[in-house]
Symmetry: C3
Subunit: 222 residues, 3 copies
C-alpha cells in the first residue's frame, strides 16, 4: 500500500519500480506469445509469469537468494497475473499495438538487465559475473518463454538482443565501480539497452553468422 | 527396510508415502512418453526420473533445500527406476490400460500438489508461495518431460490441469491455516485435484482461449 | 598466470585442468551445433557457454555451491568464449575434422563425468548421488544445448551416452571409496567413459528400445 510517493526515489525503491515495470512488460510479451500459439487461459497466465520472472528467478537461484523474490513478493505475482489477464481479455487491443511483443520485450530487457546487474552486485558478485547475471536476468524470461513454446529462443538468432542487455548491465557495473548513484547508471544502462534494441529492430541490425564453408579466394566478403 | 507398518500414519510418514507413490506414477507417465517417442533404454529411465522428480527438485532448489531429496533419497531413485523398468519391459501391458499416461499423470499431479505445498509450508513460506510451489511440484515433472521431448508442455494447453493442481495445493494451505491435520487436508486436496482432472479429461473441460480478433457486435459469444 | 608447471599435479589442480579442458571441448560442440543451425554470433557464444557449463552449473546449484564456479571463474568464461570465437571464425576448419561434434562431445562427457562426481564427493554427497551428479555434469550441457535448439536431446536416444558418463563417474566414486588417488581414478574413469562412447559411435552400439507391441509367439527377438 503506497501512501505517499516520495519525489526522490531511493535506490531500493527505484530498483523495485524497475522490477515491477519490467515484470509487467515482459509478462505481456509472454502472454501475447501464448495467446498467439493458442494456449488456454492458464497457459497464458503461466507464460506471463515465466516470461516476467524466469530470468530473475534464475538469477536469484544462482546467487543463492532463495526463495526467489518472484515467489514471495505478492506485487510481482500481481503484475504478472494482471498482464496475463489484460492480454487474455483484451488481446485484440494489445495486438493492435505495432509489434507489441518486440517492443515490450525490449523494454523488459532493458529494465531487467540493469536491475539484475545491480542485485548481483549487492550480493557481492564481481564485475564480470554481475554483468553476465544482468544479461541473464534480461534474457532468461524470454528464453524460457520460447523453450516452453518449443521454439529456438529468439535471443539466439534475432537482431542484437543479448548484446544490448549485456551493454546495459555493463553500464551499471561500470557506474558502480565509478561511484555513480544507481539511479543514474540504471537510467543510462536501460536507455542504452533499449536504444540498441530499438535500432536493431528498426534497421534490422544483425550480428553476423558463421560462414559454413570457406569462401573461394577473391570471394572474401568479411 | 520396513519392519513394521504402523496403523496410524504420522504426518511425516504420510508425506513420504505420498511422495513415493506420486514419484512412481509420474515416472510411469514419463517412461510411457519416452517409449512412445522411441527413446532408448537410458532415455526411458531418464524420462522416468525427470517426470517423477523434476517438480520436486525445482521446489527444493527454490526453497533452498539442497541437495534435493530426489538426489539423496535412495527409495525415490528406486521407485523412479522401477517405473522405468516396468514400462520398458512390459510396455505392451502398460499401454493396454486405457490412456495410462493421462491417468497416472492425474494421480501424480494430485499427490505432488499436496505434498509440495506441505513441504513449502514446512520451510516457512507464506500461503500464496506455498500454494504456487505445490502447483509447481505437481506440474514441473510433466513440463520438463514434454520439454525434453521438444513439445509444448501439455499443462499449457490441455484441459484444466495446472488449475486442478493449484486447487489441491490451496486446500492444503487453507487446512494448515485452519489447523486441520495434514493427512486430512492432503486427502481432500488430492481428491479435489484428481476429481477436477478426471472430470476435465472425461468431459473435455477446457479453459477458454484468448480471442485472436475482436468479435463483431452481436457476435458476442462470451 | 602460470609461472611453473609442476610435474606432479595435485588433485585440486588436476581437477581444474580437467574442468577447463572439458569446458573447452564441450563449448566447441555447442558452438558447432549453433553455427550449423545458423544462430548469430551471440547465439554461438551463448551455446558455447551453455554446452560448456550448464551441466556444472546445475550440479553446483543442486549441491548448494552458489554462485556456481562457471559464473565466477574468469578462466572458465574465457575458454568458453574462446571456443565460440574459434568455431565462429574458423568454422570451415573445425567442421573438416570428422564428426567434430561427436568427438568433442565424447571428450567433454568423459572429463565432466569424473570431475563432477569428484566435486559432489567433496561436498559430502553419498556414493549414489555423487555418481548421478557426475553423470548429470557430463550430460547436462549437451542436453541444454539441444533443448535450446528445440531438439530432443541426443543423450536420450543416441548410442550409449549417459551410460558411458555414469560408468566414468562410478569409477571415481569406487576409487574414492577404495582410497585411490583422484588423479588415478579420474584417468581410469575418463578413459572408460571415452572408450565406451567411442566404441558406441564407431560400432553403432545402441541401447535397446521398448517394444511397442507384444511380439507373437515364436517371434521373440530379445
Amino acid at each position: 500500500m503506497v501512501h505517499t510517493l516520495s519525489i526522490t526515489l531511493t535506490s531500493a525503491s527505484f530498483l523495485r519500480v524497475l522490477d515491477l515495470v519490467g515484470t509487467f512488460v515482459f509478462a505481456i510479451s509472454g502472454a501475447v506469445a501464448a495467446a498467439r500459439r493458442r494456449l488456454d487461459f492458464f497457459g497464458v497466465l503461466v507464460l506471463s509469469y515465466v516470461a516476467g520472472n524466469f530470468g530473475g528467478i534464475t538469477r536469484d537461484v544462482l546467487i543463492g537468494s532463495v526463495p526467489p523474490e518472484a515467489l514471495t513478493d505478492g506485487a510481482i505475482l500481481f503484475v504478472s497475473v494482471l498482464a496475463g489477464l489484460i492480454t487474455f481479455f483484451r488481446y485484440a487491443d494489445v495486438q493492435k499495438l505495432s509489434n507489441p511483443v518486440l517492443l515490450f520485450d525490449a523494454l523488459g530487457l532493458s529494465l531487467f538487465a540493469v536491475s539484475g546487474a545491480q542485485k548481483a552486485l549487492g550480493f557481492g558478485l564481481g564485475a564480470v559475473s554481475a554483468a553476465l547475471l544482468g544479461m541473464l536476468t534480461g534474457i532468461g524470461g524470454g528464453m524460457m518463454r520460447d523453450i516452453l513454446l518449443a521454439e529456438i529462443p529468439q535471443v539466439l538468432r534475432s537482431e542484437l538482443y543479448a548484446l544490448a542487455a549485456l551493454a546495459g548491465a555493463v553500464v551499471v557495473v561500470l557506474g558502480d565501480q565509478g561511484g555513480l548513484p544507481y539511479s543514474v547508471s540504471a537510467l543510462f544502462g536501460a536507455v542504452l539497452c533499449f536504444g540498441l534494441r530499438f535500432m536493431a529492430i528498426r534497421y534490422g541490425w544483425q550480428l553476423p553468422r558463421a560462414r559454413l564453408s570457406r569462401p573461394a579466394a577473391g570471394d572474401d566478403e568479411a
